[in-house]
Structures are given as structure tokens and as C-alpha cells.
Amino acid sequence: MNETRTFDAPGNSAPVLSRPVTYDDLSLMPDDGSRREVIGGELIVNPAPRRAHQEVSANLHWMLQQFLRASAAGRAYAHPVDLYIGPHDVVQPDLIAIRASRLDIYHAEGVVVEPPDIVVEIISPCSQRVDRVRKMALYARFGVPEYWVVDPEEQSIEVNVLEDGSYRAVQPEADSSIASRQFPGLQIDPAQVFAGV
């Protein structure tokens, strides 16, 4: 009889959450500097990023901001900004860009409630699976038209464009610069993004 019940043993199973986490749960959690996101009801906690991540984030934020302000095309915002996709999907991208006519999707309380025009994630070895798989699927479902994946280790910037519900990677320009479809004229030189890394 015991044999048929071996599945009863808690054994080595991971601690089991009893229900999906929601945005309301997030607001009750301590502000300890960790990045907390909810994807598919699951809590994803990331420690403070490495320095290379921060250098790249600062460089790219500055470059985006410079273009968007000079052209009055929109604004760029750096983490932490809550992106509310649904009650069980709330993420904090590294960078977002919103065109000028849609700035009101970023609410005063600090939450963006509709797809930004560009979402940028700067990956680290531990976040790679989430950024390239679960977040990519999530951003596609939400309808984020452009998703940039920046890899400080490989020193690569991948621009993914949403087409028919999936992302397609766009090849860099001949001079290896990165161009945005969402903001015509926006060109990014990867060498500048990875300067200091």
C-alpha cells in the first residue's frame, strides 16, 4: 500500500506557493532594494544589478533621453517604473520610452498601464531566461511594438519588432548602429552604449 502512495511524501519538492501573487501583494512587500516583479502570478525577485548593467543602463538612458528631448518625440524612463500588464503580470523594465502623445499612460502613482513604445531589458546571466522567454512572451501579448534586449557581456543590442503577435529581430544597420522603427531618426551606436564596461 505504501508504494502506491509514495507521491504523498513532500520529499524534495520546492516550497509551494498557494496562490498567484497580485499587484496588491507587491505593494505590501518591503522596499529592500530588490527588484520584485510578478509574471504569471509568480514572484520574481532580482538582487541589485552588477555595475556593468548600471553603466549600460545609464549610457542608454542618456542617449535615448537626449534624442527624445531634442526632437520632442517623447521621454525615456529608467527603472523603477511599474508596468501593469494584468493583475498577475507586473514588471519593472530597465528602460522604457513613450512617445509624447501618449505620456499619460504613465500615471502619477508610478504605474504605466499601456504598452510603452519601446521596452529595454539589460540582461544578466541570472535574468536571461526570464528576459528572453517569459518577458518576451509577455511583452508580445501586451503589444509592446519594440523590445530591445541588451547584453553587456556580449556587448550586443537586439532590437525586436512585434509582427503578428511575435517578435522578429531586426538586423543592425551597415555601420552596426541600431535604429528604432518607433522613433524614426533614433540611431544608437553600440560602442557608446558599452563605453566604460
Partner: protein
């Protein structure tokens, strides 16, 4: 360079080997579960008999058991233990890839390895897909929970005085958890 990570779709699943493992895609991520234990299958059989009997008698549709793919969206393809699309949703074609409509009821019997997925990721997925009722049976604790979708979230349906629980999707159907888990004795 390693293999490019990307969200998977149903098309990727169809290229994978048929090795008896359950392969699902949740949020673009591949979730692989080993074949279930005999105890899991006993509880599943017990639930199937009860639900199927009621659905047949009332001609309210049909119940499918795993493995059958439920294609909820491009990056979400799951193989629930039991799936019930009501007859109002039309007949599922014999040669269809799987069930491509939102089911009215999904039942998952928990395994030690799937508990977190069933109670968190799948629950969030079924809620966002609009599955009206979600049952979770746990052979380890002998608990059967019925959740009804209210707005964005599932709310547990309280049990009656006699311990049975009344389904809201299956009109007139009450399930007695003790009867479901009696097969384990």
C-alpha cells in the same frame, strides 16, 4: 554562441519527441513533467467518472482527459488533466490540433513536482484566459478545491454542510471530496 532563447509556441511543441513526458508552454516557457504516479491516476479516474457521468446524463458537452493540448494563446499551450468545454462552445473537431476554445472548466490533479505550477502559474493563466472554474485536487493532502472566476481572480467555492462542493459551471453537480479520494485507501 549557445542556442538562442526565445518564447516557444505550439509549433515548437509539435517537433518534440513523443516520449511520454507532458510538455506544456506557459508564458513561452517549456514546462516538462514526468508521467504521473498511480495515485495521481486513481484520483484522476475518480474525478473523470463523476464529471463525465454528469455531463453525459445532462448532455452538457464532453470531458477530455490528458493528453490533449489546450491552445489558450500563442505562448500558452497546456495539457490539463481534465478539460470541459461546454456544448455551447460547439464540438471540438476530431482532427483539431487540440482544444482551441476557452474551456469552461479545467481540473488539475497535483503531483509533488507540479504543485507550484498548478497553484500559481496555471491558476494565473486560467484566470487571464477566462476559464470560469478551476479545480485542484491534491492526493497528498486529500483536498479538493473548486475555484470560480470572479473578475480577474479565482475565489474558492465554500463547501456545503455535508462536505460536498457545488460546481457553478456544472449546474446541479456536487462533488464530495471524500468520495473522490476514497480510491486511495
Amino acid at each position: 554562441m549557445s542556442v538562442q532563447l526565445r518564447p516557444l509556441t505550439y509549433d515548437d511543441l509539435s517537433l518534440m519527441p513523443d516520449d511520454g513526458l507532458r510538455r506544456e508552454i506557459i508564458g513561452g516557457e517549456l514546462i516538462v513533467t514526468p508521467a504521473p504516479s498511480p495515485g495521481h491516476q486513481r484520483v484522476l479516474r475518480s474525478l473523470f467518472r463523476l464529471i463525465d457521468d454528469h455531463v453525459q446524463r445532462t448532455s452538457m458537452g464532453e470531458v477530455f482527459f490528458a493528453p490533449v493540448d489546450v491552445l489558450l494563446s500563442r505562448f500558452n499551450v497546456v495539457e490539463p488533466d481534465l478539460v470541459y468545454p461546454s456544448s455551447e462552445r460547439g464540438r471540438v473537431a476530431d482532427r483539431a490540433k487540440g482544444i482551441e476554445i476557452t474551456p469552461d472548466l479545467v481540473v488539475e490533479v497535483i503531483s509533488p513536482s507540479s504543485g507550484g505550477t498548478d497553484r500559481v502559474r496555471k491558476m494565473a493563466l486560467y484566470a487571464s484566459a477566462g476559464v470560469a472554474e478551476y479545480w485542484i485536487a491534491d492526493p497528498a493532502t486529500r483536498l479538493l478545491d473548486l475555484y470560480a472566476l470572479q473578475g480577474d481572480d479565482y475565489v474558492a467555492i465554500p463547501s456545503e454542510n455535508d462536505g460536498s462542493i457545488a460546481s457553478r459551471v456544472l449546474a446541479g453537480f456536487r462533488v464530495d471530496p471524500a468520495a473522490v479520494f476514497a480510491v486511495l485507501d
